[in-house]
């Protein structure tokens, strides 16, 4: 990327001196060029004239030097038109000067396709001459035209931005150290955003708004309602639509002048390199370890800078990898992937919109700095953002690891591998289904529904209250109705954290979070779980959770604790008689199979 870009602007502040210097240099160069180009007498004559007029124009841009002289034989109408044209040119010249002064030295940096001022002016003169010679044989007229074009181009900052672009991006053109050069670089760059979710939406939005020339979006997923609180690039009307297309439409509404490529595929070892190679900078807005390692390795193999962001709950992390010789990659810092069962994803742990919004915006900022060659603040540094306490901590990371499997001097990863195998988990942001218990230790939701019905447990608090109303024959019902009656009919313990229990639960369920369960003494366990002591008591104990993972762990935990410690303390608990089971698939399955009015999340 850096090879074909224009060298950065000078930090010199004496813009006027610099401009004058440049102009003088240009004038000389243009002279030399024309001499080289033509040995004919006509060109020599023209050259001499050009020099004289050009010198006057630069040193004293007076009327006579920049506006063609009026021929005596011209009539009044022509004169008037000439006067008007002269006024217009003068006005434009003044405006151009003002604009150039406001832009400072950066306004005068050459467009990307032209390396120097000399080259720019030479080409302008050449092209003007060739056009003029074809249709106008008059020397004076040719020279006049050349002067006009050269002056106009020199007075207006000769960059590649159109008038429309200057207008649209004016507020960022005014930013020192970004300016016209930064905009030109941005407009001619291409950025790939992997993941059109919580991070991808704000990142892509700011990059599109800023005028990144080409944006690629990779995502295989479709928009769902529970995305919208944080994935602000998608709209309600797009629920069910591909995320790539939904985000593309949103970005095009914001800026129709940029190119957007949709890659609606699962990014894997077979597709990654082909997609990545068309882009200058890669942005990791993905949501799982497997994709993160894949993105890292592909970026290293193609030597692209990688801007990586991640978030969960109240926290965010940001790092730029592979930006410069010594900058580490993701594997240098995290060579070992986390165990799949210890990875909490957004579907499980939740995340707040402004957290991903902050991190995605910071990613966009790093991309802009990389493309405009302002340096990447977080190259080799890890930003830890804690939105709850408002703390931002930056950790200086290591340099590139000599032992790194992909970017080290002796890499073992020289092509993309199977990242699902490497991480022990897939690319889908779904909670894995644990299989800890035997079928006899589990109960399906349909069976549980029948069981509780047979014991007279109502399916909802509303029904419970309704039932009590009938019993009381129209007497007023206490709103804080005691559900202990229903609770006593069946023992159901809900192992979810209190914040999830508060969303929705079955009326007979008692909340005993798994974390609390783990730390209880055996006495507390027996007491809290109201384990049956009497022979005639019901021996069933059920555990339920969100999706049926923690409930299995709770069954296993309780079984072990009771076997190891319970009987020695409470001789009247017969573990062989107890029947401890979990509800397969938890509340999600309950909603899917038994009660579709149950709120899912």
């Amino acid at each position: 990327m850096s090879d074909d870009c224009v060298p950065g602007p000078s930090t010199c502040n004496n813009g006027d001196d610099e401009k004058v210097g440049e102009l003088k240099e240009e004038r000389n160069s243009e002279t030399v060029l024309i001499k080289e180009e033509s040995n004919e007498d006509k060109m020599k004559r023209m050259n001499a004239l050009l020099n004289r007029k050009r010198k006057k124009a630069v040193e004293t841009p007076s009327e006579s030097s920049i506006v063609p002289s009026i021929d005596k034989e011209e009539d009044e109408g022509t004169k008037r038109r000439r006067d008007e044209a002269r006024q217009k040119i003068l006005w434009e010249t003044e405006r151009a000067k003002e604009r150039a002064e406001r832009m400072g030295p950066q306004g005068w940096v050459r467009p990307k396709s032209l390396n120097t001022n000399k080259e720019f002016l030479s080409r302008t003169i050449q092209s003007t001459l060739s056009r003029m010679q074809k249709r106008d044989r008059d020397d004076k007229s040719i020279i006049r035209s050349v002067i006009m074009v050269v002056l106009t181009k020199t007075m207006h900052a000769p960059h590649s931005l159109s008038k429309e672009q200057v207008g649209r991006y004016s507020r960022q053109l005014l930013v020192a150290d970004f300016g016209v050069t930064g905009q030109e670089r941005l407009s001619s760059s291409s950025v790939l955003i992997v993941g059109a979710g919580g991070l991808g939406c704000p990142c892509a939005t700011y990059l599109a708004a800023a005028g990144v020339g080409t944006i690629g979006i990779v995502d295989f997923d479709t928009v769902s309602l529970d995305n919208l609180h944080r994935q602000v690039g998608h709209k309600e009307k797009n629920v069910g639509k591909k995320k790539t297309e939904s985000l593309r439409d949103s970005l095009h509404e914001l800026n129709s002048s940029i190119h957007i490529n949709c890659h609606s595929v699962v990014l894997d070892r077979h597709s990654a390199l082909e997609i990545f190679k068309g882009y200058d900078v890669i942005v990791d807005c993905s949501d799982n370890p497997s994709t993160r390692y894949l993105i890292n390795d592909a970026s290293i193999l193609l030597n692209k800078p990688l801007v990586s962001g991640s978030a969960l709950r109240w926290e965010g992390q940001l790092t730029v990898y592979n930006y410069g010789e010594r900058c580490p990659c993701y594997r240098c810092v995290f060579p070992v992937p986390p165990s799949p069962h210890l990875v909490t994803n957004c579907a499980e742990g939740g995340v707040l919109g402004p957290i991903v919004g902050t991190m995605g915006s910071l990613q966009a900022l790093e991309v802009i700095k990389i493309i405009s060659q302002s340096g990447a603040t977080y190259a080799g540094r890890l930003l830890l953002f804690d939105g709850q306490s408002g703390k931002m901590t930056t950790v200086n990371l290591r340099e590139r690891s000599p032992k790194c499997a992909v970017c080290g001097p002796h890499p073992t990863v020289t092509e993309l591998i199977d990242y699902d195998v490497f991480c022990g988990s897939g690319v889908h942001d779904k909670t894995p289904d644990l299989k800890v218990l035997s079928p006899s230790e589990r109960v399906g939701v349909a069976e549980y529904a029948m069981l509780r019905k047979s014991r007279g447990v109502c399916s909802s608090i509303a029904q419970e209250i309704e039932g009590r109303k009938d019993e009381n024959e129209g007497k007023s019902v206490d709103s804080s109705i005691d559900l202990s009656l229903s609770q006593s009919r069946i023992r159901l313990f809900d192992t979810r954290p209190p914040c999830e229990f508060a969303i929705a639960s079955l009326p007979e369920a008692t909340n005993v979070p798994l974390d609390r369960l783990k730390n209880m003494s055996i006495d507390e366990l027996v007491k809290t779980l109201k384990l049956p002591m009497k022979k005639d008591e019901d021996k069933d104990v059920f555990f339920i959770c969100h999706r049926g993972n923690d409930s299995q762990l709770a069954v296993r935990l309780l079984g072990e604790r009771l076997t190891n410690e319970g009987e020695t303390i409470h001789s009247d608990i017969d573990t062989n008689q107890l029947r401890i089971r979990d509800v397969v698939g938890g509340y999600q399955a309950w909603a899917d199979i038994v009660d579709d009015s149950f709120p899912v999340y």
Binding site: G195, G197, G198, L199, G200, D284, C285, S286, D287, N288, P289, R292, G309, S310, A311, L312, E315, G316, Q317, V333, F334, V336, P337, P338, S339, L342, V343, T344, N345, C346, G349, V351, V356, M359, L382, L384, D386, S389, T393, T394, V395, N396, L397, R398, D429, D515
Partner: protein, 88 residues
């Protein structure tokens, strides 16, 4: 000669979830090897974090600790336990 020093220990991501707290204090020797600090943290002080040991990075006073470094701690030095976040 190592002397005991009180430090701040900050937990991030999964470590915060497992410890159910954001920050704590500990008194540990002021000089030790990286491996000694790692053992102390994951196998003695915070057993709950044992399961994420291999995926965590440790930082002392905002600087990453590499495998063979020697750790020097001052009073109230900040030791950060940082597992990667994956969500987005």
């Amino acid at each position: 000669m190592a002397t005991p020093v009180e430090i701040r220990v900050r937990f991030f991501g999964k470590a915060r979830e497992l410890m159910a707290c954001e920050e704590t204090r500990a008194t540990i020797p002021n000089t030790m090897s990286y491996q000694e600090l790692k053992n102390l943290i994951f196998h003695e002080l915070y057993i709950d974090l044992e399961s994420i040991e291999s995926a965590c990075i440790l930082a002392v006073d905002h600087t990453y600790l590499s495998d063979h470094s020697t750790v020097s701690l001052r009073p109230y030095s900040e030791v950060a336990i940082i597992p990667p976040l994956s969500g987005g």
